[in-house]
Structure formats: structure tokens, C-alpha cells
Symmetry: C2
Subunit: 336 residues, 2 copies
DNA sequence: TTTAGCATTTTTATCGTTTATATTTACCTC
DNA sequence: GAGGTAAATATAAACGATAAAAATGCTAAA
């Protein structure tokens, strides 16, 4: 069954194309009878208005682009699901772009998206903290952009983030309360805003409890699984921390593996707390104490923010910021 | 900085639009000097060819649609990542559609995709096994479709699957070898092809080892977390199995939770094996024995299959089937 | 000098819709 | 039945790009 175009449908009905078009968009004046006749025939002949023609004519695509550093990750897949839900509701389609934390890809994606393919972008930025002024060069008004979670602080655009500073402060405090005195902070890219904010919470919590901050307890990890495995293991051996606060889930896993290998007992020898969206944190050995971000909600909020801009074209308040709260859930990995 | 269109760029260069167009697609004849001049000016003025206009003219969208039952799931997010990688390589864009296992959504997505938005579809079908002949009604030639993992057997279209029967057989046999005699099989929708195939492997393995098959050891679960929690717990209490083989990851988790609650010791009282793409299966308590599907590879293969059709338009061999092998990784949850 | 041949560039028609504008039709009033 | 109004429908011009066909300018052979 081939699809047909508006002209063929018009011929089949002995009507003009404009009348057909009207039948598909309610507002214009058209008699109810004709409209019914058109819609029924359209169903019969399997007519679907060609989106590319519509988009070209209407100058909008009913599509939003989602750019994330990675996909196979609990946090991002939940966030995307949230975005998807809101977008679908609005009748929008979703394009997915994965940067693999590669800055070049990010720039390319954004550049190419300016060809009309999408009406707006929801993005969590790549880990590489290069010059991101390129974003200002592209028209942020033409193609609205909303950040979520990982952001560039120097780009003025709406954003959805979590209370990272407070969470990190509380997380560190939690470790201290559980008896830790030598707490390591593991981070993937400490110059990235999200790593910095979380680190500051860690530093300030130490300070509040009169624990001296030691630079070398900040462990800067990489994106590679293998490299991290080495880095983490070496850090545990060299630094002998009694607590670890990891800024991302992956590093908590790396620490677990390292502990298994090195025969370090969690939580007796080492307590671990991590940012994580893992739903099965209670099933780990031992169950993992997490700072859980409302991932799906973050996605939803980001999408809502974008649609608010798309609907009103409210280009004014570019410093619109939504802050959602994470929640610390204490489990066995930080038991006394 | 506003984007400009081909006409404005042409005017700026004192050339015709077709010459501009040629500069952007290598094949046609154009002098090197002019081409350079055009490309450099294009960069300067931030010109991006409008994709909707190109697509309309060329009758193709350089976009593929990916339809999955869910997103926040290790298996699917890895598979999508695989698809993404291949598609990006080919310069294609990716639209994501999540059915939430809702058959109606699936039909609607497919119907709407026939408006030219995508050149092809990669899909893992929804759990609801209704009449899916609708797929035949749409032109499978116009809009090629490739199934992966969850398929409809009665639809003739290329597919990428894993050796589910053999894996299930081996998984069941593994439980038997570890001493289980009363093995339950947990499944989400036993009428769905994937559930059926896996169940057959289970049944045949029992038979080979002369263990009578008991219908009530097949536990049909739901898609709801809460419902499953009740179903699984009740099943463990009523049936007292000494082994559980779960057809999807989620049911293994439900079983773990139930065991924690009921104080059933894994693996002493109950051994568990599950289909799963969980990368941190070794970190569970106890570490989970898995049948691991090559998720990313499945996605890649599915995308490759689709592109082979798109490139050659080889509409002929609709029964193209790629079978990849899963791997059983024995861990503590099935220890003797 | 004329003209065929070639490389390059321009002209024109087209992709499938939408919408401003124009036209037709139906109905009403005097 | 002429004229007017409102409602319904048709016409035609975009939207931005591409490809086929036509035109241009140039070189070199006749």
C-alpha cells in the first residue's frame, strides 16, 4: 500500500489541495460534510501529510534534539525518558545525539542542528571543558537551548539542575557522622562545573567538621573503564582512605571492584557514598548509599522549560533556572 | 547570528543557487576555485543547507526511527547506543520512540512514520501480542523495517535476534547441574515470541534431564513493579522452587528483593539465573549469574541490516535473519 | 573566420504543503 | 430578478533546495 500525496487525494475527491489541507488543520473554514468526506477518504487511501513539506512551509519541525554525553547510563536514560514523555504529549518528535564526552561532536551536532531539523535543544554538556563560547555564536534565540544536569556556567540559557552543593555537603557530612576521617573525593573531570560544585560541598563539609582538606585526596579519574580501574586501585592503596565520596555512579562501581580485588571490606574498612540513579542500589554487595537525583523529573522539567520558550518565544529571561532536590538514601555501604 | 538560506548566500557571492548547491555535494561539476569560495563564504555567513528542503526535494530524510518498549533499561539503552554509532557513521539522524509496551502507541508511531519523517525503522516490538498484521498493511518496501530482539514471528522482515532457545536450554541445564530440581520460569508475557522461545528451551532442558515439567512453575508476571513484587513473593512462598530462571533482568531483581524479604538465602535456598545486560552483575549480593546478550552489537547489526536495505533497496530477501550468541556467565547466585 | 567541443554556470521545473487572495456558490432582500 | 453578503472552495505563490536542461564563455581545430 503506497502512500499518496495531497494532490492525488485532491483529485480522488475532486477538490483542491487547499481544501484538503484545511481538513487537516481545524481552524480554517470548511464545511463539516466536506471535512468528513476528506478525512474518511484520507484514511481509506492511507494519506499522511508529508512532514518535510509541512515543515518547510511552516518553518518549524515539531522536533526537539536531545544531546547527552552517554546513553548506556541509568541517569541519562531515565532523563531522556522524562523528556520523551513530555515531548510526546506535545506531539513533538525526539532526535538523539550522543557525544561520548567528545567536545568536537558536541559542537558539530549543535552546528548542524541549525539547519532547521529541530526547534529546540535539550542538552547535558560533554565532559571536555573547552571554549564553549561557540554556543553564543549560534543564535540561541533561533534555536532555544536548555541545559540539564551538566551545564556550562558561562552560557546564559535556561537550565535544570539539582542542589549539588548541598547534596555533596550532606553526603560528606554523612560519611563524617559514620566515623570517616580520611575521605577521598573521586571525580571524572574536576574542572567541569558539576565536578567543581560537588567538590566544593565536600571541601566545606570537611572544613565545618575541622577535618583538614588534603589536595591529594581528590582523585581525578578518566572516562575509560580500564584506566579508572588502575587509578582507583592505586589510590586506595596509596591513600588508605576510610571513606569515599564519588561524584558519579561509575566511580562507585570502580571502587567496589577495587575493594573486592584488594580485599578491603565495605563498610568496615571503607565507606562509600555516591551520586547514583541506580534503581537496584539496594541489591549491591553491600547495598550502596546513594545521593539519588530525580532523573526522570529533571528530564521532564527540562522539556517543560524548552516548551515554555517554544510556545511563548519568551526570549527574555535567559537565566531561568530550575533546581530540583536530590535525596540521600543511607544503605549498608556507609554503615557504622 | 542568523542562519541564511541558499538564495542569500548566492546573492552574496553573485552566483546562482544551483552552483551553491553543487559546492555542497561533491559529484557535480564545479570549478575548484568557485567551490572553495563558496564553502569559505558559507562558513563565514554560517550557512547550513535546510534539511527539510533537501529532504523534500530528494525524497529521503537521512533519518532512521528507533522504536523500543522502554528506555530506562540496560539492554535497550546499550542497543540504542549501538544503533546510534552505526547511524552516525553513515551520517544519519535518529528519532526515538518509546511504546511503554503499549500496542496502540506502536501502531500510531509506525503509521505516522509513513509521512516521510524517516527512511527506515529499527524496532523491538511491544509486549502486547495483538493483531500485528497492520505492519503488512503499511508498505514495508516504502519504509523498511528491521526487528531486533523482540519480534513478531508472523511478520516477514529482516531481524536480529539472539540464540534464545539454546541459551535458555543451557541456562536451565546450568541450574540442574548446580543441583536444582524444582525450577521456576518467570516471564513477562509468555505469549510473546521471545517469552515462548525461552520457555521452550527451559521445557526441553527439563525433559532432557527427566525432570517433569509443571505448568504452575511458569510464573507469568506483569509490567508493573508493584504487581510483580506481589506475584513473585507469592510464587516463592507457594511453590518453594529451588531454582529460578527469569526471562528478563527485571524479574531477577524482583526475585532478589523477594528473597531478602522472605529471608530466602541465595544461592543456598534458591539459585537464580537471568537474561541480563547489567554490567555490574558481579556487584550484586550475591553476584548474579547471567545470560548476557551482546546488546550493543545487536543494535549495530540491526542498523547495518537496515542500511544494507536502504543502500541497495534489496527488497527481495525479507527473511534475512542474523543470530548472535548470548553468553552464560556463572556467578554466585547459582553456586552449589 | 567559423564552429565544434568543453567546462562551467544559470535557468527552470519540481518536491508536497500552506496560506493569502481570488473565485464560485448559495442564499437573502427588496 | 438584480444585487449583496457570507460561506465554501479554488488558484497561485511561496518555503529552500536539487537536477535536468539551457546558456555562456572559452579554446582549438577546420
Amino acid at each position: 500500500m503506497d502512500s499518496i500525496n495531497i494532490k492525488e487525494l485532491a483529485e480522488a475527491l475532486n477538490l483542491s489541495t487547499s481544501t484538503i489541507s484545511r481538513a487537516f488543520r481545524d481552524n480554517s473554514d470548511i464545511s463539516v460534510a466536506t471535512k468528513e468526506r476528506i478525512l474518511s477518504k484520507a484514511r481509506e487511501l492511507n494519506y499522511q501529510p508529508n512532514h518535510y513539506a509541512s515543515n518547510l512551509r511552516e518553518q518549524k519541525s515539531k522536533t526537539i534534539a536531545v544531546i547527552v554525553p552517554e546513553l548506556a547510563n541509568n541517569y541519562f536514560s531515565q532523563a531522556i525518558h522524562g523528556i520523551e514523555r513530555v515531548a510526546r504529549e506535545k506531539g513533538y518528535h525526539i532526535l538523539i545525539y550522543v557525544t561520548d564526552d567528545d567536545y568536537t561532536k558536541e559542537v558539530n551536532f549543535i552546528r548542524h542542528l541549525h539547519n532547521g531539523r529541530a526547534d529546540g535543544i535539550v542538552m547535558s554538556v560533554s565532559g571536555e571543558a573547552n571554549d564553549h563560547n561557540y554556543l553564543n555564536k549560534f543564535g540561541l534565540k533561533r534555536l532555544p537551548l536548555v541545559f540539564f544536569d551538566r551545564i556550562y556556567e558561562d552560557i546564559q540559557t535556561p537550565r535544570v539542575i539539582t542542589n549539588d552543593y548541598e547534596s555533596s555537603f550532606s553526603a560528606t557530612e554523612h560519611l563524617i557522622e559514620q566515623g570517616c576521617r580520611r575521605i577521598a573525593y573521586m571525580v571524572i573531570n574536576k574542572s567541569l562545573s558539576i565536578g567543581k560544585t560537588r567538590m566544593q560541598g565536600y571541601i566545606d563539609a570537611l572544613s565545618k567538621h575541622h577535618i583538614p582538606f588534603e589536595e591529594h585526596l581528590i582523585i581525578d579519574c578518566s572516562n575509560s573503564y580500564d584506566e579508572n580501574s588502575v587509578i582507583v586501585k592505586q589510590a586506595l592503596i596509596d591513600l588508605k582512605p576510610d571513606g569515599v565520596f564519588t561524584s558519579v555512579e561509575r566511580l562507585a562501581f570502580a571502587t567496589y571492584y577495587a575493594c573486592y580485588d584488594l580485599n578491603i571490606k565495605i563498610p568496615q574498612d571503607l565507606k562509600i557514598i555516591s551520586f547514583s540513579s541506580l534503581e537496584i542500589a539496594p541489591l549491591l554487595n553491600p547495598s550502596l548509599t546513594t545521593i539519588t537525583q530525580p532523573a526522570a523529573e529533571i528530564g521532564e522539567e527540562a522539556a517543560n522549560l524548552l516548551f515554555r520558550i517554544l510556545d511563548n518565544r519568551e526570549t527574555g529571561n535567559h537565566d531561568n533556572e530550575v533546581v530540583l532536590n536530590s535525596k540521600i538514601i543511607a544503605r549498608n555501604s556507609t554503615m557504622k
